[in-house]
């Protein structure tokens, strides 16, 4: 299973965990598996057409998945997937 890094705003779905394990051969499958484990999380990542929201970035290791094969990007057990949301806080 791949490791998924959960950002602060989504940790309420993962019982506060910053790292969780998820199964899936691709990013899309991995997100489905996340949803099965942590209901509600998918709607924060995907739009109504099933695409990654444009203010959310998903990285496979240190590469942004839009530069790879998007949701079809293959994921292996040793990979680390990071979800990086836009944050505006500065004060």
């Amino acid at each position: 299973m791949a490791t998924v890094r959960i950002p602060s705003p989504l940790r309420r779905y993962t019982n506060g965990q910053s790292k969780v394990q998820a199964q899936g051969g691709t990013i899309n499958e991995l997100i489905q598996n996340l949803e099965a484990q942590y209901p509600g999380i998918q709607s924060k990542l995907l739009d109504e057409n099933g695409n990654i929201k444009r203010y959310v970035n998903v990285f496979l290791n240190d590469e942004e998945i839009r530069t790879l094969q998007g949701g079809d990007t293959p994921v292996s057990d040793r990979d680390e997937v990071s979800i990086i949301p836009a944050m505006a806080g500065g004060r």
Partner: protein
């Protein structure tokens, strides 16, 4: 015990050390870019005039510092002093260290000047400044030249809050000569948990004033320019164009998109930072270096419905200290032109996990503002872009993540 006089020593060195005259030096400087000209005179002599492009290491520090600047023992080195004697002694020492291609310039700087060749009078730090910045100037990456660059630099801070506070303090301490601060807000007691430039006595004072006072007490070399206003599409170009680098410490999406677009359109590097709870992000958007911008990473803002109220957010007080300090470090690197800036890389810090990570930020060639065919060529209405009808209604101090 046998001894020799200084005259005998010099006569012997003249036989042993190859010398060139100033005409040959002039010729070599034109033809051989590999040649390192090291001026070993004392600092007060050097201040009177120097050959452009020469490296200044005083005779006393030569053996200790030469390897830092010239690690390659096969590189040709010409040594220069005032009259050509101290450079002979210096050459002997470098030969002993294994420098194989060392020459001494006969007649030294005086002969160069008398021959009518060009020289410049370097700008120098004052005695007070030399002392104040000594931990900077002793590093070859900074030196007096780098410190002068810092003193000449103009950096704009968007916000004198959580990120702006440590950034302002470190930039001021580093001697960044002009620090602009945009902030319309006044200090509130609830700011003091993290906004370390302000104090209890500053409560209800405009943040711009409070920050200017703190900086003045820290370093009189720094000029603070206060912009006590909200940055808008109307004033952004006027304000940002006065500066070399922008540090973003704003607290809302409209300002982040506005500052990004203005920096792209003006070609200014933007040192971006953001914080939420225990996590922070830092990167440098510099499209003039071919890097990505904020819109490459986040093409659209989150809809307002996804943004929680400020009370739900929160931030660990020390977190902006970490992120704002990293922003100051990146700005200083950009000013000095040293190191590898965070262009095209996003640095993440998680205080709970005590981890730093770096991710690659690709440039989006379809980016509406910095892509190959930009559609945003002037500043727009960013409140509308972010779907926010009344920006002021939500108050200040928000730490808005993209998710509710």
């Amino acid at each position: 015990m046998s001894y020799i006089t200084s005259d005998q020593l010099i006569a012997r060195l003249r036989r042993e050390i190859p010398e060139i005259d100033v005409h040959q030096l002039h010729d070599l400087l034109q033809k051989n870019p590999d040649l390192v000209l090291v001026d070993v005179r004392e600092t007060d002599e050097w201040a009177q005039g120097r050959i452009e492009g020469s490296l200044h290491i005083t005779r006393g520090f030569l053996e200790l510092q030469i390897e830092t600047y010239v690690p390659d023992r096969d590189r040709p080195v010409a040594l220069l002093c005032a009259g050509g004697v101290r450079s002979l002694l210096a050459a002997r020492d470098l030969q002993q260290m294994g420098y194989r291609r060392v020459v001494s310039v006969a007649g030294g700087f005086s002969a160069w000047k008398n021959a009518g060749y060009p020289f410049s009078t370097p700008r120098m730090l004052s005695e007070d400044q030399r002392h104040r910045y000594s931990r900077h100037t002793i590093m070859p990456e900074v030196g007096e030249e780098g410190q002068l660059k810092l003193l000449d630099a103009r950096v704009l801070l968007i916000g004198a809050g959580g990120l702006g506070s440590p950034a302002a303090i470190y930039l001021a301490a580093a001697g960044v000569g002009t620090i602009g601060i945009v902030d319309f807000d006044v200090v509130d007691t609830s700011n003091l948990q993290r906004q370390i430039i302000h104090r209890l006595e500053d409560v209800d004072t405009p943040k711009v004033e409070s920050a200017a006072r703190a900086i003045a007490q820290l370093n009189p070399d720094v000029k603070v320019v206060g912009h006590q206003t909200q940055i808008t599409s109307q004033n952004a170009f006027d304000i940002i164009s006065q500066y070399d680098i922008v540090i973003n410490g704003s607290d809302n999406f409209p300002t982040r998109y506005l500052v990004n677009d203005a920096c792209v359109l003006l070609g200014k590097p933007l040192v971006d930072g953001s914080i939420f709870r225990f996590e922070g992000q830092v990167t440098v958007y510099d499209t003039s270096r071919g890097g990505p911008c904020y819109r490459c990473l986040y093409p659209d803002p989150p809809p307002p419905g996804e943004v929680p109220s400020c009370a739900e957010g929160g931030v660990l007080g020390v977190l902006p200290g970490v992120i704002g300090s990293l922003q100051a470090a990146e700005a200083i690197k950009l000013i000095l032109g040293k190191g590898d800036p965070l262009v095209g890389r996003l640095l993440l810090y998680d205080a709970l996990d005590a981890e730093f990570r770096t991710l690659k930020v690709p440039k989006n060639h379809n980016c509406p503002v910095c892509g190959d065919h930009p559609t945003v060529t002037e500043l727009i209405d960013y409140q509308q872009f972010c779907g926010i009808p009344h920006p002021e209604a939500s108050g200040n101090g928000a730490h808005q993540p993209a998710f509710s």
